[in-house]
């Protein structure tokens, strides 16, 4: 499986997945950390990929998603955005709704 196929499998297999620097327990970047907090605050169950430990995904995901930075949040296989968009969605209550929908469908 090449890296693009691996990425596709990850976003297809996990209704909510965050590609981040570090782990939810030990985020290695402020933007990743804030995004994790936003997801946790609305009770979302999410998978995570530490791109610092997976250089192939770190190098190839930006091309796959047309998004140059981390973190990147995917829900139901679709790029939702990075830290700013996730926080905006949390503030508006939309993130909780999307997370609930995604978990229901899973």
């Amino acid at each position: 499986m090449n890296t693009e196929e691996r990425i596709k499998k990850i976003v297809d297999d996990n209704p909510i997945v965050l590609f981040m620097k570090g782990t939810p327990q030990f985020p290695m970047c402020g933007f990743s950390s804030r995004t994790v907090q936003a997801l946790k605050s609305c009770g979302a169950q999410f998978a995570s990929v530490n791109v610092l430990e997976d250089p192939d995904i770190r190098a190839n995901l930006p091309r796959y998603s047309n998004w140059p930075t981390f973190p990147q949040l995917f829900i139901n296989g679709e790029l939702i955005g990075g830290c700013d968009i996730t926080l905006e969605l949390q503030e508006s209550g939309e993130l909780a709704r999307m997370a609930k929908e995604a978990q229901k469908a899973a």
Binding site: K21, C29, G30, F31, N66, W67, P68, D84
Partner: protein
């Protein structure tokens, strides 16, 4: 890390040029936030952290993710060479 911060005024000027050409914004603020991140792992590569606020009619009808993708595309290679992270606020005149 030293040396990188001095590059930032030139980086901001270049970002302003690219974003103005792409979006003809009604308002464009670019703030250097690199100092907030000095010393953390992501700052060590010498690229900058910036906050960009753009008010432009060009964003009408686009989702947040598409708006940000348009901004990243307009900045092109700068995202690899000069910019480590971008905090983005993208609005249309109707959303003010």
């Amino acid at each position: 890390m030293t040396g990188a911060v001095e590059l930032n005024p030139a980086r901001i000027a270049r970002m302003r040029e690219l974003l103005t050409a792409e979006f003809s914004p009604l308002q464009l603020d670019i703030v250097d936030e690199s100092h907030k991140h000095a010393g953390h792992a992501g700052a060590r590569d010498g690229r900058g952290h910036f906050r960009v606020r753009i008010l432009a009619a060009a964003f009408a009808g686009l989702s947040p993710v598409k708006r940000h993708q348009r901004v990243y595309a307009a900045l092109g290679a700068m995202m690899q060479t000069d910019i480590h992270a971008l905090a983005l606020e993208t609005r249309t005149p109707d959303e003010t």
